[in-house]
Each structure stands twice: as structure tokens, then as C-alpha cells.
Symmetry: D2
Subunit: 338 residues, 4 copies
């Protein structure tokens, strides 16, 4: 009953098998491996973006920090949700890489809206040298609250950003889960909705440790590559990053894994609701139900692993995350223990 | 006949097998995995350093940059050899992480000497606010020229550094090869010789991608850990870094792999010398013989892979690197093609 | 009728005279001038702090950024009011110099309280590597809203900061005005109330351009000095900074100038209230009354210079700042024009 | 007999008078003062560059660091002479502001040549992600050795830089002295010779503390302005910077002051040579004669102030700097004391 995080799961068998295969023989290092060519081709096809460029790194924090640094000047403001991973969970990595300042935009359940974004914009006064300048918009999908943005919602936000001169980043640590939850195409959920640069997660959804930074404008690739090296994120035996990502994107594996994770998340949500637990709408693989502390204790005593988040109403919220490896038995055992 | 770099080899079977084993089940993320505890215990035992602290990252550039940033202030000078990897092959990563300035120390065949270091010191004027300040010494062993420092040589350099208030870093991307080549113990080649922080390489010597930053003063561990996260180098599914390093350090695997690489290097050196090629002394796994451009072309036509380095005397130098996976057949075929 | 900012005033005659005197003959550069010794002695006496160290710079932004960088690590959070000058008016200078992240603390009329600070603290999770760490508290006195902190209020905030491991900075761009408004002694309003480092303003209160960074722990002086040089803030003909600050602090000139500015501020406040204008309590030299847009237009047409700040209730707020050079005639003319 | 540095002199009477005049009344802050408009107009006229943009700062280190940061990316290499002020006298400020790495180019007596620059270029491998990239050329005129570059010499170096994709900076802390020494026009010694950005010194040549950063491409002005603010270098009472620079550039004052300094330098050189002292050619206001230590002691005992630089041949070199305020009596007294 492991619901602590999708990063406590291992790698999917297909990914591990690809890694083992990739170990045969000699291969060029630092991204010149043959598999990296296949990864780029896969991304271009999947995203219907024949000129997109892709660079792989081993962590999501690196992907986000490099994406932001490549698009936002040091005096720029990055508008992001006040609960964004880049704001609260990366120990200042985006600021370290970019020099930029994060401006926190409120919004219910992990989502900013055109209204809350518009309200935050005047705090950064374009053209006034005393203020940082409008630098970038960064969204997360699936959000940190387990909700998802639709393509239209993203487009509304990026339109507003663009009207204010700002390129747009999507933190897609759980991008496959967002695709499955929305039913949207990769293109519709990114560049067609105004996204310039995507952190495309692999680690949480069945890889060992690989994330792709996808830039839809190839002119940005060289700067991204230099920043990756300068950050110490250019893998020497790069074939082992490529092999993971190639397997992940081949034949829809990534979507099958995400579909499984989301299905388990929804099975859990239904089961909880059937027991009268209020579970805020969350169509992917993260749920945030709340119950008394004693219930938390009882679940943990029964062997369930998950995070607790205190709330202001005396309850504690649970953060329950399912993954590609979660089984129906896990879910049902959790519900039974409840 | 792959002699381009030890990072074109794959992972040793024992390491890959450990990785596959590590994939079973759920495991805590971000370094809290059980295997990391074993890694720390192994390092402490191997280095006879019961208080040493260890943090794992995926690349050597990250290890070096984090090690330096954790010991050198932004206004510090890092004295390193003019051919040091940190100076010429990391796209400024050490400066990015630390803010420090690298001061290049000359020396024959990759090695600075107390004399060349002493000559460089006055260029940085301690106590003069117009100058950067004496920050750190960084050595590399095996050096970039394939030579090695003995414990006594390191101790002489670190003594001089320490007398000038500077802590000392060792870039040990090929540390196991240096151990085998010198016959020294890990402790004698590091902290007993005055090294404060070590980049302990795994990648080039049979791992997929893992390096350990070892600090002999545990008080530095927390800053190192924060800098690692802030640099995007804290692996989410950290178990896969731990598993590699654990297997690598267990039962002397790392030394066996390095011994094999060095033996092939020396077989190649002997064979070359037997053919009348002048091969500068290089007791580990990197050789830098020189011959006419036509010979280079002929070797490449025969399928040999290696780097060329133009020299001032009209010849070209070859950079030949052997690895744990180099076979006697590879070596002999190369010699035959010559 | 210039109420736009105290930095639209010139220098006090005494300061300008000192500058002219300082121009005679040759003098050592880069802070080794004789007058700097007098400045240090004056600061130590005035602050009853015989070991304090002082460094001069030409701008308030530099003073703040250097003070923060000298006390807060790159992974630290600086807790400051959401309207703090360092947060909204310095184009990210504190982050550029320190690498730190600013965490915005709310509070009525420019002042945080122990309650709002305590509420903000848990957002930074000490000991959790994913979060930035508790780095520093930065207060402003006179605040950006024209209010002042009393020594007791400062002590309450710094106690809370210190209990959370954080040193404390005071942005005293208008420190003399705060002294006059509170009647407190320099020591009581700084180190006796828990302040570690002070930005002591001179520019707005009668100098041409000089601010002092005062550190009460002399062990911090060398780092501060290196950061000042590295930031390009070590003046070559430093005598011209020293001369200003020496004149400013001699025979209470700084307090006389601030007393004049505050008196004009209070004359203006009384006059406005007598005319029925609601003027929020502001005991120093900045007032923020609100009135209809038409009134603003009329005042400007009459020659008054001041800033406008839109409010949510349809009025516009005026920001009226008096200075040492504001005359009673200026104030009365403004009131008449109203 | 003050020959320690031109920054031990005070301000010229005309500059001080302008400063006093500028103190009258109220004036807009942060660079919006009327005098700044005049400064820009003067620079454009003097440099025959009707679109040039100018920003003032208080120190030469700030001017250099901002100029470099505005033209060189963080992964860039700045090629400069190995004795350049930016390399040895600014405590790493250029690196702090830009993130770039300085690559030291040798050359006799402070001057690099197309040959030494060309020899340094291959050390930075364009297009190789492991290397920093070719970022910028930075020259100094008058050089740190008291020599001068002619327009043709500068053009040769900038042509080579430009052919390698690099913009060009000129550190003109003593630019007026170089103009006088070469007889060249401001345009010929800068943009017509391929200079993109100039640090135009005022401080050493009769101002209190002001330097101009001149960008010949106005599209760079906004970034420069933001970096200036972010570095804490935007003066609040900016009129006092403008007033100095306006007076300095008006009616050729800057050239008259430099002519006086150079004339005294040449009087000193002639006098030394007449006494048999070998004085390396140095046509501006800095001389580097060498003599025995005993002679140094004797001169200092006689009241002369200057810097000593040990040499390898047992002598000590003197660094003698004349300024606008050096008198013929000073020079003759020094010669007599010798």
C-alpha cells in the first residue's frame, strides 16, 4: 500500500529491459549516441512538431531549471502558482539557474486562472527599471493539487502571458497523466496551447531517472545544451538516458503506464467516496482526501504509506499518489483498512 | 578497438545486475533508500574514515562543481592545473556553482609541482580586496595526461595549500585507476595526504552514471546536500544511484575493474614501445603516443576509435584510453593495425 | 511643492561644504582615507558599539544587497514585508548578490507582526532539502508605508527570527527619520533590539549619495568588504563618500535634518486632517492620503509633484514625502492648492 | 610628490563647481535629471555617434562588469590581457556580473597582439559543449603598462574577434589619456575601430567618481540599464553623476586635464632618461622605470609616494602615475630627489 509518491515505484519492465539492452558494446558519449536520434524523432512525431529539439537530463528539477533559464533573463519574473513545484520543492534551483524571481499566483486547487494571473501582473512593472520585468509563465500539468488544465485553459493563460511579452513553460513531471486525464493530444496540450518549452517527465511514470526538455523553437537548443553542460547535467554515458526515454515513448508505453496510474487513482477515489470520504475532484493519479488524525494513524498502522498535510479545520489531508505499479489489490486493501 | 574514452564502455555486469535487483518493489526516494546507508558504510570502511559523509550524483562535472562550491567562497581562487578537467572540459560549471575563479598552474604532463604552485600563489594577493582570495586547491588523479600523483606528491601540494589557508579537492574521476597504479590505499591517497573533499568516480570505471562526493569533515554534508538539490542533482529514484555505487564498492569490484583497465593500458604501452613508438610514462589507463597523421588515418581506417591532438612538432598525438571492458584482443588488434 | 521623494532634494549645505573641503590635496584611495577612520569612530560612538565595522557605498540598493548577501546563504529565505523596498524596488538586486529567495510577509501599513511572521515561517521547512532554508529577517524602518517600528516591536520580530536561527537586517534608508519619530537611541533601534546589520541611509536625508553598511559583529567585515569590491561598489576616490558621511554624522546634523523633514511631514498631516482628509498615521516624513482623481489633477496643475497610487475603492492615494529641504511655505502652498 | 595613482588626486575645480551648481533646487532622480540628457548629447557629438546610449555609474569596476555582462553570455569566454584590470584588480566583479570566464592573453607591456590573441583562441572550442564559448574581447587603453593601442592596432584585434563572433569592449578608465597620447579621435579609437561598448573613465582624470558606459548599439541600452539597477549602481540623486560628466565633457575639459597629466608624465620620463634611468616607452601618464631598492627607499624618505613592483632581475620597478593635478614642481622635485 505505497501511496507516498510515484517516485517510490521502480522502473517499468520495458524500460529496464531497454536499459539492459543498451549496455551492449561501445557507444558514443555525451548525447551523440544513436538512441538519442530516435528519441528526438519520437518526440517530433508524437508532438507533431518536426523541428522540436530535445535534451535529456536525470531529474525534474534540472529540467525545470534549465527550461526556465533558457527563456527568462536574470531580471525576469516567472509567474507560477503559489504551490508550484518550482516555487516550493526545488530549493531555489530555478532561481539559481536563471537568476529570475518567482512571482506567486494564487488559485484554487493548484490552478491559476486568467483572473488571478491578470491580478498578479501589475506587481511587475514592465519598463520600470526598479521592478523586475515580465519574464515567463510557468504552469504545471498535472498540477501539484492533482487537478489538470485543459488545452483551452492553458491557451487562455498563455495568451495572456504572450500579450504581456512572456514565453510559457509547462512543468510536465506528470505530463502523461495529464494527457490521459484530459484525452488531449500532446500537441494540443503544449505548443498548440502556447507552450514554448516543456519539461516532459519520465521518472515518476516508469523510468529510472530521465526527463526531457522539449523546445519547440529549435533556435533555443544550443543555449539549452550549453546550460545543461554548465549545470553538470550532460550525462557521460548518455545512452542510458536515451534508452529509457526511447522505450518510454515507443508504442505508447508512456500512455499505458499513465493510464494504469490514473485508473488506480480513480478506483481509489471512487472507493473513498463510496465510504463517504469527501475527495476533491482529481482526475489523474493524486488525491487529497481529508480525515481525522486517528484515521491516519490507523491506516499507517495497517501498513499504508502516504503523506500527511495538516489543514486548518482540524483534520489532516492525505496525499495519495498512485503509479504505474499500483495494483487494484493495493487500492482495495487501503480501502479495507480505512 | 575502442580507445576513445572509458565513457564509451558500458556498465560492468555486476553493476547492471545490481541495478536490476534494485528495481524490485517500492523504495524511499531522494536519498533515503536503504542502499544509500550501505554506500556510506562502504565508503567509511574503505577510506578508514568513520565520519566521512557521501552524496551521490550522476555526473563527474556535478561532483566537481558541488565539491568546489561547498569549500570555496565566491571570491576565492581555485588553483588547478592548466589542463584540469574543471578548467577546460566543464563549460564553466565550477564557476557557475561556486562563483570562484580558476587560476591555472602549469606543470609537465598534467601535474603541478610545489614549485609551479608556489609560483602561482603570489598572483592572488591574500588580504588585498582588489584581488580574489586564496580559495582552494584542486588536483586530479589520474591526471588528464594519464600520469598519477603519489600520496607524497599530493601531501606536498596540500601542505603548501594548507599553509596558505586553502582546503583541497581531488577530482577522482579515475580514482580507482590511480589507486591501482600507485598501490596506495584510499586513505593514503586522500585525507591522509591532505584532501578534504573527493570526487569519487564510478561512471568511467564500470557504472552507468554515478559519482560520489566524499567529504571527510561531516560538518560540510548539509551544505553539500543543499547545493546538490539546488543544482537539480538530487535523484528522485535515488536507489538507482545507490545500487550502482554499492555494487561498485562491494568486494573490491571497483579495484578489479580498474586493474583490468590499467593492465590493458600497460599492455598497449608495452606493445607500442616494442614497435618503437615513444609513449610517455603513463601508469594507468590513458596513453598519449604521437605519430604521423598518415598513421592516424591508417588506424582509423582499420576501425580504431581514439582522439587526435595536434602537436607543435608536426605529429599528431593520439589519446588512447582503455577501460574495464577493453580486451587483450582489442589491444593486440590495434598494435597489429599500427 | 516637491513631495515626490526625498531623493529629489539636493544635499544639505554642511554636507556639500564638507565635500568641497575634502577635495584639497592628495588622499589615499579605496577606503584608506583618513576621513573613513573618523566615520567609523563616529558610528561606534553614536551606536554605542565600540567594535562595529562600517563600509560605505553610494546607493541604498547596494547597501541592502551587500548586507543580505553577507549574512544569508544562497539557499536561504529572506523574510521581508511584501511591500519591502528589497522586494519590489530593487530589480532583484538582493537575489543577485545573495542568491537567496525573498519570502513575502504580509502586514498592515508596511509592518509585519510576530503573528504574520510566524505564519510565514512554516512555508520554509528547515531541514527539508527540497525547501530553501530559514536565512534572514529583513525589516525596514521607516517602513515603505511611512509607519515606524518601535524598539520593542523590532525586538519581538528579531527574537522570533533568532529563535528560528536567522540573523536580522534593518533597511534604514530613512533610519534618521525613524530615530526622530520614535525618540529611540540608535543602539536601541538596532543591535539592542536584535539587529545584526544595518543599512544606514544618508542619501535621502541630505547627502549626495552615500549609505553605510554597519555590521555589529566585526568578524563579518572582511566578507562584506570583498563583496563590496566584487560588486563594483568600492569607490576609488573614497574620500568623497567619507566626507559626506562624516559631515552627516557630526554634531547631530543627520538628526537635525531628519527632524526638519519629519516636522514638515507632520505639518502637512495636520493641515490635511484639518481639511478633513483622512491621513493614515505616519509619524515620520511620508504620508499616504487618498482623494479623488480630480483632486490629484488639480494639485498637479498647481505645480505639486508627488506620486499617485491607485486604490481599490476608486480613489487614488498620494505618496507625499517631505525632506530636510521642505519648507513650511511648500507645505502651506500645497494645502492651499488642495 | 604623489605618483601613487591618479585616483589619489581630487576633482578638477570645474567639476567641483559644476557639482555645487547642480545642488540647487529639486531634480528628478534615477537618471531622469535634465543634465543626463546633456551628457548623452555630448557623448553622441564627441563620438560622432548619434545613436549611442550612455549610462553613468560611480566606479570603473562597475562600468567594466556591466559592459561585459551586457554583451557576453554566462558561458562565454572574455579574452583579455593577462594583466588586465578586469582580470587582476576587480576581485572577480566581471565574472560575478556576467558569469563568464576570463581567458588571459599574453603580450609585451600590457598589449595583446593579433598573434597572441590568435594563439589563445583555440583554447576555447566554439561549438564544443564541453568548452566555454567565444564570448567577447576586452582591451584596455591606456593599458595597465602605460602603453597605448593605436586605432589600427585596435581594429586589427577587433577584426579578429569579430571574425570569431565576438563583440568588443574597451576599458577606457584612462581613455582621455589615450586620446591625447594617440592624437586619435574618440570615434577612431572606439566604434570605427570595432569597439561595441566603452567604459569611459572620469574618476581618474578629474572627476570625483563617475564613469560612463557607452553602447554604440542603442538596442543594448535597456539590458544595460536593468543590469545597472540590479547591481545597485543606479544612483538615486543621479544629478550628481550627470553634473560631473557634463562638466568633464564640456568644452574639452577632459582632454585638457588628460593633456596636463600626459605632459607631466612625459616631463618625468624625459627627466629620468636624462639621468640615465631606462624608462620603457609609455606615452601617457604611467611610467614603469626600475632601480635598486635603495633608490626606492631614498625617494620615499624624500616624501615621494608611488608603488613598487618587484622584478625578477633584483631591481624593483616603480609605478609612477601623473594626473591632472601633478605640477612641474612635483616632477622636478622627484627628479631632484632621485
Amino acid at each position: 500500500m505505497y501511496f507516498g509518491s510515484d517516485n517510490t515505484s521502480g522502473a517499468a519492465p520495458e524500460v529496464m529491459a531497454a536499459l539492459v539492452r543498451a549496455n551492449a558494446g561501445y557507444e558514443r558519449s555525451y548525447g551523440a549516441d544513436a538512441a538519442m536520434g530516435l528519441v528526438t524523432a519520437l518526440v517530433r512525431e508524437i508532438f507533431d512538431a518536426p523541428k522540436a529539439e530535445v535534451r535529456l537530463v536525470a531529474t525534474g528539477t534540472a529540467a525545470n531549471a534549465l527550461a526556465i533559464a533558457s527563456y527568462c533573463p536574470p531580471w525576469g519574473a516567472v509567474f507560477c502558482h503559489s504551490h508550484a513545484h518550482i516555487a516550493v520543492d526545488e530549493c531555489g534551483a530555478p532561481e539559481f539557474y536563471s537568476g529570475a524571481k518567482l512571482v506567486l499566483v494564487p488559485g484554487n486547487r493548484g490552478k491559476m486562472t486568467p483572473e488571478t494571473l491578470a491580478a498578479a501582473l501589475p506587481g511587475v512593472v514592465e519598463g520600470d527599471v526598479h521592478s523586475v520585468q515580465r519574464g515567463m509563465l510557468s504552469l504545471t500539468n498535472v498540477t501539484e493539487a492533482g487537478t489538470v488544465y485543459s488545452p483551452a485553459e492553458i491557451a487562455d493563460l498563455t495568451s495572456l502571458a504572450r500579450a504581456n511579452g512572456m514565453p510559457c513553460h509547462l512543468d510536465g513531471a506528470r505530463f502523461a497523466n495529464a494527457l490521459v486525464a484530459t484525452g488531449a493530444s500532446p500537441a494540443d496540450l503544449t505548443w498548440r496551447a502556447g507552450i514554448d518549452v516543456l519539461s516532459l517527465g519520465g521518472t515518476k511514470n516508469g523510468c529510472l531517472g530521465v526527463e526531457a526538455v522539449v523546445v519547440f523553437d529549435p533556435a533555443k537548443a544550443w543555449e539549452l545544451e550549453l546550460r545543461r553542460k554548465r549545470g553538470g547535467h550532460l550525462a557521460s554515458k548518455h545512452r542510458f538516458l536515451s534508452a529509457q526515454m526511447e522505450a518510454y515513448l515507443t508504442d505508447g508505453l508512456w500512455l499505458r503506464l499513465a493510464a494504469e496510474a490514473n485508473a488506480m487513482g480513480q478506483r481509489l477515489a471512487s472507493g473513498l467516496r463510496a465510504k463517504g470520504v469527501m475527495v476533491p475532484e482529481a482526475p489523474a493519479n493524486m488525491l487529497f482526501p481529508a480525515w481525522p488524525t486517528g484515521t491516519h494513524d490507523r491506516l499507517e498502522a495497517a501498513g499504508a504509506v502516504f503523506s500527511r498535510i495538516p489543514t486548518s479545520d482540524g483534520l489532516e489531508r492525505a496525499r495519495l499518489v498512485t503509479s504505474w505499479s499500483t495494483t487494484a489489490e493495493d487500492v482495495d486493501a487501503f480501502l479495507a483498512a480505512l
